[in-house]
Symmetry: C2
Subunit: 411 residues, 2 copies
């Protein structure tokens, strides 16, 4: 195993050289409280004679640090072992259709810095990922006196991901990204980094589980309503990805077999009927037909309408805007009722841009879900906006990076 303190460069990929027993020790310590050697041995089923040299090697390599003495259970007080937060950095990246957020964290998940900016995924993967790499490098360069490598990056993208390969498959919003080797591209900038790609709503669900209102829940859903509609599934405490890694594609569940044709080619998909663009489309029709002075005025001023405009109109008492929002909520809730019957989650958290539309959307969505679903499934069901606001994704991306660092072997 490599000794980071000997000045070896970041290109050596230090954590890739941990053996399985070392990985198991680090994984136990990571993200929890410090542990003694005796406690590590007990939890891993190792003898003291086995654990002692493993810990000694990890201390020498600078992966673990001694964090002072713990409570004695008879005899000498044990030295407690923690993960060396300054071993290197982890980055969380949340790529949206029109924006990118990056956070930099230490190995214990402590957020050190962040940067958000507008971006357009349609510019293609190279341009956007060049910029992401520049942002991460800049955030690292701002960390005074800590010349440490980026060891892990979690990247959320707004499209279907084949998780095992880390590539997008037929992404409707960003066709130029299809099959693009994001992992390898990023590793050209950060050769020591484990790079994990996941769907944006999966990382939001993970953020809610690790840092939000889902902390104590084993089974819940995270629904993102924005330009599209997607779902992250937490099952027994971890992200459920399905057989091909594309579970949670709820935006193309049918709500009307005779409905309009969606960009996916099917008719009456939830996303096409109820997401942000659908609300904007209907609002534009209403405004043009003279049905809403508020929306008509906003349309003239801006030249276009968004779902958030519809929310503002509804908040000001505009009846047509209220009806548009309730109709979207009713359709989303109808699909959620089916998912509640099937999956029986403890909670549904709603996030994404359309959550800014306001309480009328939540009220109608919740009513439709509760009206239609099995009473036993809804007895304790919570339906609420995400507790993390816009940060669910980027916080989840850091968790994904750190969670994977000591469990995933990557070539």
């Amino acid at each position: 195993m490599l000794n980071l303190d000997d000045g070896s460069s970041a290109t050596d990929g230090p954590l890739g050289e941990l053996n399985p027993a070392e990985m198991a020790v680090v994984h136990l310590i990571q993200g929890g409280s410090p542990l003694s050697r005796a406690e590590l041995a007990r939890r891993l089923g190792y003898s003291r004679a086995t654990i002692t040299p493993i810990v000694a090697g990890l201390l020498r390599a600078g992966v673990l640090t001694e964090e002072g003495e713990g409570v004695s259970s008879g005899g000498r007080r044990p030295q407690m072992l923690g993960l060396n937060g300054r071993l290197g950095y982890a980055a969380g990246v949340d790529i949206g259709a029109t924006s990118v957020s990056c956070v930099l964290a230490d190995m214990n998940g402590q957020i050190l810095d962040r940067h958000d900016e507008e971006a357009d995924v349609r510019a293609g993967p190279e341009a956007l990922l060049d910029r992401v790499a520049a942002v991460i490098s800049h955030l690292i360069s701002q960390q005074a006196g800590l010349d440490r490598p980026l060891l892990a990056a979690g990247i959320g993208v707004p499209g279907p991901v084949e998780y095992s390969k880390g590539v997008l498959i037929a992404p409707p919003l960003m066709p130029a990204w299809e099959g693009f080797p994001i992992r390898e591209f990023m590793q050209r900038y950060f050769p020591s980094a484990l790079v994990i790609i996941d769907n944006d709503v999966n990382i939001m669900a993970l953020g809610e589980k690790k840092a939000g209102a889902g902390k104590r829940l084993d089974n819940f859903l995270f629904i993102k309503v924005g330009t599209g509609i997607g779902c992250g599934i937490i099952c027994d405490g971890v992200v459920y990805r399905g057989s091909n890694g594309c579970a949670g594609d709820v935006g193309h569940i049918c709500v009307d077999y005779n409905g309009p044709v969606c960009h996916c080619g099917n008719q009456g998909c939830l996303e096409y009927m109820a997401a942000g663009p659908a609300m904007a489309r209907r609002a534009t029709e209403v405004a043009s037909a003279g049905g809403s002075p508020f929306l008509a005025e906003r349309l003239v001023a801006q030249g276009y309408l968004t779902a958030v405009d519809v929310g503002h109109a509804a908040a000001s008492g505009d009846r047509e805007a209220g009806a548009i929002i309730r109709e979207s909520g009713r359709m989303i809730g109808g699909v959620l009722a089916g998912l509640v019957n099937f999956y029986n989650p403890a909670a549904i958290f709603i996030g994404g841009g359309v959550s800014e539309v306001g309480h009328q959307l939540m009220a109608s969505l919740r009513r439709a879900t509760l009206n239609r679903a099995n009473p036993l499934s809804t007895r304790e069901l919570r339906i609420e906006y995400t507790s993390l606001g816009e940060d669910a994704g980027v916080l989840g991306a850091v968790c994904l990076a750190l969670d994977s660092l000591f469990t995933v072997q990557q070539d």
Copy 2:
């Protein structure tokens, strides 16, 4: 720990007295190949000094047996340890709306005997469970020379089950069973037995996982189409029950918001629109209106029509019957497409009485699913009839009993 060989009676509940370390040893051995002491120690992370007395105790109690010598890895050949199949019996019970199946197995899951008979759940829990107990006792009494207790029973019931309590909650087909203490009732007959109650389709899914075409699959669905429509969910190799134990209630997913009122009170539920009774209802209308000579003749002869009659008519070339079947298949497939998008299973197995309707149902159901679902989710998706026919439930019930025996603590 109790020694079964000393003639102690079944009322002592021998397995309830295993401590957690003993349970862990037995659970490792159960259902697999025999293991040596060294292998047990390695897998459990125990030292040889720890494992030796545990195994000695289990051998003395007759829970384990020595099964001959294994292959040496240097030094003396190890004694291999297996579970004593003759320690006691396990029963699997599959209660349908109109029938009961019971199988008797040994502790290794070897089926010893079985009995099937007609029954009516509407007669109430006491009458039916008295009969089940009599059948199990009879099956045990037929086992020559083996005076051993029933140690576990798995019971599948056609209604929603609160799994942790083992009671039915608002079961539409069997209202008299609501909240009935099935476990305690059965334990009056079999005081040594761990009794586990589950929804019928959950045990079918478990049967498919343990003994059927789902053996090597981690994530799949088992759809039962009969009087109702239900779904068993296998997630990461085990039955997923959801937050309140009622996951898989797909029969009441909406297929038509303006459809007819279901017995659950909602409109346009899949079950009401597409299950066996819906096909029979539509067939009766067609026959009465003179649309199908085949069905009209069958209606006159029997006084009623079933989904299987519709299948026979379709097989004989009756066009109206074919249309009824295709319509049911289309509706079921439409809901399955949504579940495939959400859950991305590796396979969907179809079972239950309506699977006897024939290949036209499967063809239209499959077409509707594949047409509507996300292409990545369906790339490797298998949709087929259960490999176990009518036995999926009763085999799953035995697996449930044996799986639970060394993992569940029951008062």
